[in-house]
Amino acid sequence: MTTPVWVPRKRRGAELFLTFLAVFIGIAAYASVGLGAEGTIPADTYKLGGALIVVAIATHLIVRRVAPYADPVLLPLVISLNGLGLAMIYRLDIGRQQIDPARAAFANSQLVWTAVGIAAFAGILIAVRDHRRLQTLTYTFGAAAIGLLILPLIPGVGQTINGARIWVVLFGFSFQPGEAAKVCLAIFFAGYLVVKRDALALAGRRIMGIDLPRGRDLGPILACWLISVGILVFQRDLGSSLLFFGLFVVMLYVSTERPGWIVVGGLLFGAGAYFGYAAFGHVRVRFDAWLDPFGDPDRNGQVINGLFGLAHGGILGQGLGQGSPQLTPYSFSDFIAASMGEELGLTGLMAILLIYGLIVERGLRIALTCRDAFGKLLAAGLAFSFALQVFVVVGGVTRLIPLTGLTTPFMAQGGSSVVMNWAIIGLLLRISDQTRRPAPEISTFDSNDETQVVKIS
């Protein structure tokens, strides 16, 4: 008897429909910004809109061709966020240049970076036909991650911007290697843990009721923690430090299925955070700004301005182009969530958070249904790091937790962030295509046939 095999539907038509919807959201937001801020729909709306539709259709066709079974919801979700982000950056260009015409405009470069990001997305789908190939490059990615993390510390290449040494300037372009390092680290962790998970979980001694792994298995874990603390110390980048460490602990937990790792990780993080608080003035400043922003309004101007913007937006928002998000420093990058909250209101901000939540949910669903351990770990790690990043940056802006500098995926201005997030979506789609693809036909023989037993009388 053959067991009926569940063959997922491709749902590419649904993806196309949702993609049109997402592109429409972006174009409508752009037109709305023009109407709100300058009273007319921007003259290039049709041109830009046409280009967007072409790019979206092209992307869709590539997915249809090289990853036909991929998750149909992720791409439209990401396009809608990217479109909203572009419209908001354009809106902030207008607002900031009203204050001072000399200020740089970011919308055009962000548009170019979005194109590069989509190219990277397509490139990954085309080049990586099977995500398991990446597992063979585990240590290559590990080395690449460390190299990328050290890069900003090299004199002449690295640059300190806003107190954090996380920038690299090469050939006139500046970018944050941390974003790329995150993806490399996720691949490295997945590859490493798939191999070591049993050793980590089973071999070792039991001390005070906790199963401790062997030293040689534990080594890389401690090394990772040290790297996180190192980032905190030398690059003053609290957000990335938290993100890398959280990513690692969670992947450790998923691979070993031992909740104890979460406890150990939590304790180590607590120790690191306390150390940071005790040792660094800038960490203390962030912490104090979180507890009582109005205690020092001059120093905490950005956090306060973000809150003022959110409050001013209220439930329905001021309307695109009609608020004053440009009053908040870095309203176009770190604080773009507050800008969205001001102009689109609580309603808009919650919708955006739901879109982020859906992306995470689709990612974790891919991890659940994935058949191989490497893909499972990688998808879970990428999805969780995405969730943690959104939580840390939006939570920081809305004063749920202390503010740390991380980019808001797909919306914040910044080339490296947009490109790497598109790459992450590419990887997720690749894993999901593998997962949902029907298993190759295996010829079986009918077990009910009478076994040809030779009777020996």
Binding site: V250, Y253, V254, S255, E257, P259, F294, P297, L307, F308, G309, L310, A311, H312, G313, G314, I315, G323, S324, L327, G341, E342, G345, L346, L349, M350, L353, L354, Y356, G357, V360, E361, L364, A367, L368, A373, K376, L377, A380, A383, F384, A387, L388, V390, F391, V394, G395, T398, R399, L400
Partner: protein
Amino acid sequence: MNRPIRNIAVACLVLFLALILNANFVQFVQADELNSKNGNRRVINEEYSRDRGAILVDGKPVAESVKSKDEYKFQRRYPDDDLYAPLTGYFSYIYGRSAVESTQNDVLSGSDDRLFVNRVVDLVSNKQPKGGSVELTIDPLAQKAAAEGLERLGDDTKGAVAAIDPRTGAVLAMVSQPSYDPNRLASHDFTEVQKAWQDLTTDDDQPMTNRSTEQTLPPGSTFKLITAAAALENGVVTDIDDKVKAGTTLKFPGYGYTLPNENGGNCGGSTITFERALNVSCNVAFGGLALEIGQEKLGEQAAKFGFGTDPIDGLAASPSRFTNPDTTLEPPQLGQTGIGQFDVAATPLQMAMVAAGIANDGDVMKPYVIDTVRAPNLRVLDKTQPERLSEAVSETTARKLREMMVSTVQQGTATSAQIPNVEVGAKTGTAQSTPDRPPYAWFVSYAKDGDNEVAVAVLVESSDTARDEIAGGRLAGPIAKSVMEAVLGK
């Protein structure tokens, strides 16, 4: 590995739930509080682009918004410069608001709940919302008379005047000298505004302090009115012709301290009438009365006149003080307290309330400055109803106190306040603080003429006048007189 992934999914759900709940908290629950914070430029920008309502005195604007050609569309203007500054306060882009501009901001900016219908109509017809107007209780003639009176004493004069209608508590004049020009802070030239703010906040004379409501100083002999009221109320003295102990000094058995009279005299004998004691402001007599009344009764009397309570809504104000709380006064301290020294400290508004209570048959009315609040279409939204604060003394006691105050004007220390054919009662005061600065000159009075009544308190903290000339009657009396004349239309 699926179980941990499911757990992670739940954890992510919790993270996003926390974000969404927090967004609701900030943008819905906390929004009003954040929007009303000082320094919120979004709200100020919005307010600046609105036609803010006027603050009116006798129908004429003392603060108004006029169209401007720059990006803020409207410019706040104060036509009388510094005359009404203690009342209107300032409306500054950078430094926020104060006084009535601040406390009536909801109406003036048009965001008051009572203007909701107007806002909806404006929204539908796509018009900018307009603010409502606030009419003050001030009598412009009295206000000018008070300000000019203080100015006549010289440019360096520091002082304050408060005048109220004894029957309602409506504030008729409120002047603080030196004052400031709120136009300087309302300017759209922000570097000028910053410079002005710097000047005003670093000025030792604190021009932005409303001396008539915010600054408490020893009221000196004017406090004898309260001691006299307590003496009559508690039966220590029954009539104004009763004899009270006087003489050159008041001795406190067991203490090395003696309380002398102001000019070393003996008030006209070892015993004098109660009335004469007030007429000549006899320290020995009132110190002795304070001892007989006792701290508790005297403190209760002061509290009935309003000491210890925030006297007025809508303006920054400090409560006046009888003594430090939980202090038991030694006899010499109690004696000094009875003549308005030691720890006693009062605002001019408080002393005007004392005179007003006596003029109004013992009922102290709660002072107020906001008369009517109107919507942009002039519909009356609110009109302040007079409210009795307390019955400070009985009608009989009030009548006796008035008699003594009138005779003080006719033949005592307060002759400078005489107005022909008008019932005027007054009490002077000169209060010592520290030996190295001139004493404060006080003058507290009331006047009644037919249907008109007014109570005034004048404080002159320091002036160009040499210190030995200082006496409440000579310095502050003429100012009180001109304010009363202005109110009574003389």
